[in-house]
């Protein structure tokens, strides 16, 4: 089980990358900070970093806009 933003839970999959997770949630906003278990993931690693089972993932969208 992976928990996203303290609210949404999805089943863990082996090899689920950060990019794939963002795509699944349709998080297309350009300024997203991703933290896995409170550690920041550099954007360059999004396509390759696999999310571990039981992870607490934060996808923080910087407010911008409006």
């Amino acid at each position: 089980m992976i928990r996203v933003n303290n609210r949404d839970e999805i089943a863990w999959e082996e090899g689920l990358t950060v990019s794939a997770l963002l795509e699944r949630f349709r998080y297309t906003f350009p300024h997203i900070i991703v933290k896995i278990d409170r550690r920041v993931v550099p954007p360059v690693e999004y396509p390759t970093r696999a999310i571990p089972d039981g992870a607490d993932v934060q996808a923080v969208h910087l407010i911008a806009g409006g």
Partner: protein, 711 residues
């Protein structure tokens, strides 16, 4: 040179600016044809800073408790702020326009770019205050080079803005160089016949050799302008230089400016691409998150959105031009489509520069009305601007009319033949031209959503509750372009404002809805305390908010509270201190704003509004009103019921699900009000407590007298 008849002439010694202030405001009374210089007091600088603060202070003293928008006592006040007019830091040329609004009957404050505000300061004036009404159409010309202010009868000066622009550069400017440091404020014929008039502030685009226009859009300031029979305000100033504000420490400002220029140079291309596509970058993103208003805020996305997204506009805008609306803005979001041939209306066939569209305009006159044709959006944008109409209010009220038409509340007889279905761009354009001519259904629609609700109920027998639910206005002002339905914090961001649902107070959708960073009422209340105050600050100083967070430094993600973009907040602290010589901290920003924000709330109470009942919002801003809306995201809404409300939707008819969700969400909003008022130091009726006013140092007798009645 003009041949207008001069009604009044006032000469003065243009004072130089010291640390961001000239120390004088200009008062013009059009009923009496008087012009007076008023001193800027210490109270004004210490408590009200500038910009919106000066506007509120001057307006407060100019009007009575019962002043209406069209009484001669109503004023239009224009002021930039101590940091307005610096050239080194992107987004430092904004001004605030303040007046009593024809839509809301309370104070509107409207933030605008262009050159007028800073040039007004360099012409010698920290604010321009206009009261009274002229007998016949006039212009006011503030010549800061020769030290002369005139009120002139202006029968031959045009009304529509793109013509005023040409008049300004061809008739008022004597040389090419004159054009650089002259600016006009104008409305248009649409502002004469509606309540949604806007003001256009010009800037001279040296590469295009043409005037361009930015808008003080919200609240009907253009309507007040034409009601006072003003055709144009014109300012001329000495040349602008890097030290025109005579700052206390220009080096600090320059360092911050170069830092941000470099950041924008290095990162804008792969962040929001503001320099190439401007605010339209947001269109597809909002659609992806179900936040783009479609069909009168019924839906948050549409399959045709790619036809009007950022990529499309990047290809339409002329690239490679400076495109800043004040000097030094390298965020450069003020794009234009050049050589656009108008297909309709009185200027049909002319090739014009269209200033925009901005994201808001695309959402309002485009997707909100079901229109996904870029050319239609450009035509609507151009005519709204030149007619002096707020594109946001225009779009939202037209979308409301369209839904009423599709629901059978309106028909072709009532609309005078206009087939106002969603997506009918021709009908929208016809409606717009009617507003300019003051004819037909245009006269009704131009009253705004709140008054249309009343008219449709009283005269066409439409169900008042349905109209109230779908009519996207609060306090009388139309909503701007974000769907707040799934974010309680954003419902508050729109509903718990001073002026009405304009997103410049708080834009919390992502923090709340997506990132879930505001899970409790206390979290939401804290955000609804902080962000409106933070954003208010820009309007006290003369700043644009876009360079604050539409460009993000690369190490921002490692900061505490990255949503606040702390490195940029620090820039603003540096700049304010560098201009004024007053060392401030980032906490001071909030403290400064809190004073003005609370004063504005009391002002609204003084005018008979400003309390809990006036913070009411239409249900469409909170949840699905109709079966169609509910079932468009049926699974999502069902999950809301089960996970959030705690009710199993299985077997429930949709109408019951809607009602259940509604009961829950309406109760949530009431609880939010309680939490926010508490945090802001207000009573449960939304009135600032005496203790709060005392702590802010605005417990002046006349202020206390207003709140006393309710405490």
């Amino acid at each position: 040179m003009t041949t207008n008849r001069v009604l009044t002439e006032f000469t003065y010694e243009p004072s130089s600016v010291e640390r961001g202030y000239t120390g004088q405001t200009l008062y013009v009374n059009l009923s009496e044809n008087t012009v007076v210089a008023k001193p800027v007091t210490d109270v004004m600088k210490e408590k009200f800073i500038g910009g919106r603060g000066f506007g509120l202070w001057l307006l407060w003293h100019g009007v009575n408790d019962d002043t209406k928008w069209d009484d001669p006592e109503n004023e239009i006040v224009i002021s930039s702020g101590p940091c307005g007019g610096i050239t080194q830091y992107p987004g430092s040329g904004k001004s605030l326009v303040v007046a009593i609004s024809p839509l809301t009957n309370i104070v509107i404050d409207s933030n605008v770019g262009g050159h007028f505000g800073p040039l007004l300061k360099f012409a010698g004036w920290d604010a321009l205050e206009i009261q009274g009404k002229a007998e016949r159409d006039v212009i006011v010309f503030i010549d800061g080079v020769s030290g002369r202010v005139t009120i002139e009868e202006a029968p031959d000066v045009p009304v529509d803005t793109h013509l005023v622009g040409h008049w300004l550069i061809e008739q008022m400017a004597e040389t090419e160089e004159d054009r650089y440091f002259m600016s006009s404020v104008s409305a248009g014929t649409g502002a004469e016949n509606t309540r949604i008039g806007c003001l256009n502030f010009s800037l001279y685009d040296r590469k295009r050799k043409s005037p361009r226009f930015k808008q003080a859009g919200r609240g009907g300031t253009g309507t007040v302008f034409r009601d006072k029979r003003i055709k144009a305000l014109v300012v001329k100033s000495p040349p602008v230089k890097g030290d025109s504000n005579h700052p206390a420490d220009r080096a600090r400002i320059a360092a911050a400016g170069v830092r941000l220029h470099k950041e924008i140079h290095d990162h804008d291309d792969h962040q929001n691409r503001m320099r190439r596509r401007g605010t339209p970058y947001l269109v597809q993103i909002m659609d992806d998150y179900h936040l783009l208003p479609v069909h009168n805020f019924k839906f948050g996305s549409h399959p045709d959105t790619p036809k009007i997204n950022g990529e499309v506009w990047e290809a339409r805008f002329t690239q490679g031009l400076p495109d800043g609306c004040w000097y030094g803005c390298t965020m450069a979001c003020s794009h234009a489509v050049d050589g656009f041939e108008l297909r309709t209306g009185p200027y049909k066939g002319q090739r014009v520069i269209v200033d925009g569209p901005e994201y808001e305009t695309i959402g309002a006159v485009g997707s909100g009305c079901g229109i996904f044709d870029p050319d239609a959006i450009l035509e609507l944008n151009f005519y709204c601007d030149t007619y002096g109409l707020d594109t946001i209010s225009y779009g939202t009220l037209t979308a409301f009319a369209m839904e009423c038409y599709e629901a059978g509340i309106l028909d072709r007889e009532k609309t005078g033949g206009l087939d106002l279905r969603f997506g009918n761009a021709e009908a929208s354009l016809s409606l717009l031209h009617q507003m300019a001519r003051g004819e037909g259904f245009g006269l009704i629609a131009g009253q705004g959503v709140r008054r249309m609700k009343r008219i449709f109920a009283q005269e066409y027998g439409a169900a008042p509750q349905f109209l109230q639910d779908i009519g996207m206005e609060s306090k009388g002002l139309e909503y701007s372009m974000y769907i707040p339905k799934e974010s309680l914090a954003q419902q508050g961001g729109y509903g718990l404002t001073n002026k009405g649902p304009q997103h410049d107070e708080a834009w919390l959708i992502f923090m709340d809805m997506v990132s879930n960073l505001l899970p409790t009422f206390e979290d939401k209340a804290e955000a609804l305390h902080y962000f409106p105050l933070f954003r208010t600050w820009f309007g006290l100083c003369g700043f644009c908010k876009l360079p604050w967070n539409d460009i993000v430094p690369p190490n921002n993600r490692d900061a505490d509270e990255p949503a606040k973009i702390p490195a940029h907040v620090q820039n603003y602290v540096e700049i304010f201190s560098g201009v004024t010589g007053h060392e401030i901290t980032k906490e001071d920003l909030i403290a400064m704003s809190e004073v003005v924000y609370n004063f504005q709330r009391v002002f609204n109470i003084r005018l008979g509004y400003g309390r809990r009942e006036h913070d009411a919002i239409p249900y469409r801003s909170q949840g699905p009103v109709t079966v169609e809306e509910y079932e468009a995201r049926g699974e999502y809404h069902d999950k809301q019921l089960s996970d959030v409300v705690g009710i199993d939707p299985a077997g429930m008819p949709t109408e019951e699900k809607i009602a259940t969700l509604r009961e829950y969400r309406e109760a949530q909003y009431e609880k939010l009000k309680d939490a926010v008022y508490e945090r802001r130091g207000w009573t449960s009726d939304g009135v600032p407590k005496l203790e709060t006013l005392r702590n802010l140092g605005i417990d002046f007798p006349e202020v206390v007298a207003v709140v006393d009645k309710y405490l």
